[in-house]
């Protein structure tokens, strides 16, 4: 049985210093082909603890393929994805399926664009959050419920909604619930695929504010795929621009957006409508 004090470690994590020397994730030469067509080609980068890396590009640029390969949802054709596990750096491609699944429910989290893909729609809000806790060994019902309530509060869902099913929630609430479900176990690396896509702008702002706070408080490293340059400007430390499956430019987010070097990035930045 798990004590409440043990559960509380999932709710809060000490921020890790930004200047930490070992990368949390090291990607080398990652390539994925769909037959003759390129999904993504020769992608390499390092992600350090506490860093938020934005991946932008138009539809079909390979950014979602890249995220799927990194998260282990898709098998790449070549390259290495080295994650700094508790036992030291390991290539996730060489892990067994159970090992990878264990990683996916402990150190990793994946926030889908469509909350329905990341939630269990037939289970209550509290159950959605509690389920992930149980998957890592929590058994004490009252503790699980307390932690779930705490997390619903952190993502601004009223405690009296704990027994409601997500199908009764608005799109923004579903997305916040998905985030709570993902972060309750205190992951170190979060994959996000268009987390604000399909939401009203007012709801987007609320979600961005929430994500920024969680990144800071939990010291999360985040890989966020989006086509929304305003979102990455406010959320990402670094930016990677993809076109035709390849990374054409990467650097500090504001530098890439304000002084883009590659023709494609210049086109992308100059195509944004000013509000």
């Amino acid at each position: 049985m798990m004590e409440g004090s043990d559960l509380s470690i999932f709710a809060k994590k000490k921020p890790q210093p930004m200047a930490s020397t070992a990368p949390l994730l090291r990607v080398e030469g990652l390539t994925k082909r769909y037959g003759a067509r390129i999904g993504c080609a020769d992608v390499s980068f390092d992600l350090y603890p506490g860093e938020v890396l934005g991946i932008v590009g138009e539809s079909g640029s390979g950014k979602s393929t890249l995220l799927s390969c990194l998260a282990g949802h898709m098998a790449p054709d070549a390259g290495r994805v080295i994650f700094d596990t508790a036992e030291g750096p390991r290539d996730t491609r060489e892990m067994s399926e159970p090992e990878r699944r264990r990683l996916a429910r402990t150190d990793w989290a994946y926030v889908h664009q469509n909350a329905r893909d990341g939630l269990r729609m037939g289970v209550s809000a509290g159950g959605n959050v509690g389920e992930r806790l149980m998957a890592v060994g929590a058994r004490h019902y009252a503790d699980i419920r307390t932690t779930a309530t705490d997390w619903l509060g952190r993502v601004e869902i009223a405690p009296e909604r704990i027994d409601d099913r997500p199908s009764a929630f608005s799109g923004g609430m579903q997305q916040r619930l998905q985030i709570a479900r993902n972060l309750v176990t205190g992951p170190r690396l979060v994959f996000m695929d268009e987390p604000t896509g399909g939401l009203d702008v007012s709801v987007q702002a609320r979600l961005l504010d929430l994500l920024r706070g969680l990144v800071r408080e939990m010291g999360l490293s985040v890989l966020i795929v989006t086509h929304d340059l305003a979102v990455v400007r406010l959320l990402a430390d670094r930016l990677m621009v993809m076109k035709g499956g390849r990374v054409v430019e990467q650097g500090l987010t504001d530098q890439v957006l304000d002084d883009p070097q590659h023709a494609y990035t210049q086109l992308l930045v100059s195509s944004v409508l000013q509000v």
């Binding site: 500090l252 530098q255 002084d259 070097q261």
Partner: protein, 227 residues
């Protein structure tokens, strides 16, 4: 604290026939701790461009931009991020924030990022906002709906929340009334007194004379215009 030598910059406009526009050549600047250097020169001469390059917002073509020993022109993104968090502050002319975040938290954020406890960070933010005459009833609101002068003061409060050893100030007194202008100028004086190295752009000549120890005319760094 800030050492710039032989700095060059050009913009290549790939989508406009690949036009190359050289904007800076051979720029040099040195700012000691406790010193405030004012950048002068006609509009378009490159004052803001130079400031943005020091901050790592614009990429240098060649040369060195050393801030507290880090060469911003060559540093990896995460080194620049660490430098911006701890060492190098920047008060731009525009406030860019996540909508709906309360003003108090916008100002406290640079401290929260450094790991300062929330109550201390908010206390410091309150002091600054009060000093800059932002009415307390506005603190829980997002600054996105504030007037230009109010937004600028929020931006200044945010830029001064942490005692950065180096500060870049782009027109910090531009749209302020006499009272608030005086507050900002005393804050700059105090930052200098604690040893901050400051680079500023001031169109307000009175402000320039009051806080700048030296002026550097960036026209001398403009390609084609330099003697």
């Amino acid at each position: 604290m800030i050492e710039i030598s032989n700095l060059c910059k050009s913009f290549t406009l790939h989508n406009q026939g690949g036009a190359v526009i050289p904007v800076m050549a051979g720029a040099a600047l040195s700012v000691a701790p406790g010193e405030c250097v004012g950048l002068v020169g006609a509009s378009g001469a490159g004052k803001s461009t130079l400031m943005r390059m020091i901050y790592g917002n614009y990429l240098a073509a060649s040369g060195r931009i050393e801030v507290a020993g880090v060469d911003v022109a060559r540093a990896a993104p995460r080194e620049v991020i660490a430098l911006r968090r701890q060492t190098l502050g920047y008060v731009s002319q525009f406030l860019r924030v996540v909508p709906r975040v309360p003003t108090l938290d916008v100002v406290a954020e640079p401290l929260l990022v450094l790991g300062v406890p929330a109550d201390q960070a908010r206390a410091r933010a309150s002091d600054l906002l009060a000093r800059l005459n932002i009415p307390e009833r506005l603190w829980p609101l997002s600054p996105t709906t504030f007037s230009g002068g109010e937004q600028q003061r929020v931006n200044i409060a945010r830029g001064f929340a942490h005692a950065y050893p180096a500060l870049l100030l782009d027109e910090p007194t531009a749209s302020l009334d006499a009272t608030n202008r005086e507050v900002v100028l005393s804050m700059i004086d105090e930052a200098k007194a604690r040893g901050a190295a400051i680079v500023g752009i001031f169109h307000d000549e009175g402000a320039r004379e009051r806080v700048c120890d030296r002026l550097v005319d960036v026209t001398g760094f403009t390609p084609g215009l330099a003697a």
